[in-house]
């Protein structure tokens, strides 16, 4: 028999996080995936959230930075309370290119994190990325590519951009070989590797380091080439596609 004192212990926990995805569950519920600051990625049920009079309202919509209380259960946790910290979705949804870039950020975050494995750096990166996307000071696709490159870096897969991925030499970088881990020199370059313009590699490096003046001054053709390389590099490492990427619109 369970001692009386033990029976009153409930596994409630509180955390803050960004809502990554929602999926319909039953008649009026949703499964909400949240990347939390301390617990990592959490999948939890939100009861009655699809009803117009739900107490959660728009608090559990994707992109919302939310303060949540959850009840730990054997399968899906249960969201018992939610308060908005900042609703990033509202300004994003009225600007279609920003919205599509934002969804790619959420999907990548979901794929790069494990359930209930703390991922503080990825969480902080996502909050920063959404804040930059919302304030509108840079082109959305540049913000997305910067986010993807830094997410790869957090995961330990940062591409070599200012030295050869194979021999480490700093000069004569002629190609970009995904399987080798980034830029490669003329000697190490494997057959079939891409031949990006030197300005494209400079742009990728600027995005990885957060040098926005360099990135903002780049030409459209180098931005397009950069996006293609980043997407291919990311999806090679993830071993599956990011579905949102093909829907991202360039301004």
């Amino acid at each position: 028999m369970v001692p009386y004192g033990r029976m009153s212990v409930v596994s409630l926990y509180r955390d803050e996080g960004i809502v990554l995805r929602t999926q319909k569950l039953g008649e009026a519920d949703r499964i909400v995936t949240i990347l939390t600051r301390r617990t990592g990625r959490v999948r939890a049920a939100a009861k009655g959230v699809r009803k117009t009079k739900s107490r959660f309202g728009a608090r559990l919509e994707p992109f919302t930075h939310v303060d949540v209380q959850l009840y730990e259960r054997r399968s899906l946790d249960l969201i018992t309370q939610a308060e908005t910290i900042r609703p990033y979705g509202e300004p994003l949804v009225s600007d279609y290119p920003r919205y599509t870039a934002g969804t790619a950020m959420l999907e990548t975050t979901e794929k790069l994190t494990e359930e209930k494995e703390p991922a503080l750096r990825q969480f902080l990166l996502l909050v920063g990325g959404l804040r930059t996307l919302v304030d509108g000071s840079h082109e959305p696709r540049l913000v997305l590519d910067a986010f993807l490159l830094r997410s790869l870096s957090v995961a330990g897969w940062a591409p070599a951009l200012d030295e050869c991925a194979r021999c480490g030499s700093r000069g004569g970088l002629r190609g970009f070989a995904i399987a080798s881990g980034g830029a490669v020199c003329g000697t190490c370059r494997p057959p079939g590797s891409a031949s990006p313009a030197p300005q494209t590699l400079e742009l990728m490096l600027a995005l990885l380091r957060g040098e926005w003046t360099v990135a903002d001054e780049s030409e459209t053709r180098h931005r397009v080439e950069c996006s293609g390389l980043v997407a291919a590099y990311l999806q090679w490492h993830l071993e599956h596609g990011i579905r949102s990427l093909k829907h991202v619109e360039r301004v």
């Binding site: 995805r21 039953g26 008649e27 117009t52 009079k53 107490r55 959660f56 309202g57 728009a58 608090r59 919509e61 994707p62 992109f63 908005t84 609703p87 979705g89 509202e90 949804v93 009225s94 600007d95 279609y96 919205y99 599509t100 969804t103 790619a104 959420l106 999907e107 579905r243 949102s244 093909k246 829907h247 991202v248």
Partner: protein, 199 residues
Amino acid sequence: MYEGVVQNLIDELGRLPGVGPKSAQRIAFHLLAADPADVLRLSQALIEVKEKVRFCKTCGNVAEEELCRICRDPRRDENVICVVEESKDVVAIEKTREFRGKYHVLGGAISPIEGVGPEDLRIRELMQRLADGAVTELILATDPNLEGEATATYLARLVKPMGLTVTRLASGLPVGGDLEYADEVTLGRAFEGRRLLDV
């Protein structure tokens, strides 16, 4: 596990949305005990719905003929089109008896994370309906969630050059609710859409 046909029935019922294994078993035994005529009526209704129901050629709503009941009705206003995500949204709006125009069912909402883009919805068909210039107002009645809002933004941008009036359903506080429980986004929208009280 039950024998043959009974287990088959339980398995098939268990594939329906919201029906778990226990419910499937309960329904199966209810059908076994029911009057054969009742069960026959149910089975005929199931077969008929698959045989007769199709999608309206014009609006994409469920229909028994080439055009749905609303598209066939000459009393409906041809100049106003209300865009919804699903056929069940048509039913919800019809219940209000407030709208006398026609509908366009998109078949979902733009959701890049689920791999659903604009080309997967009936947007091309909508643009064809708007092409002759007869429609003067387009009401965007997609769901008031993130995907519905993004779909509405996309459509508004797409039809802007056509010069017709594009409206969005109002969102705000639900009737009968308490103000203190409203979330920031909903309350913000309610303030944005406040109206003059003319007494």
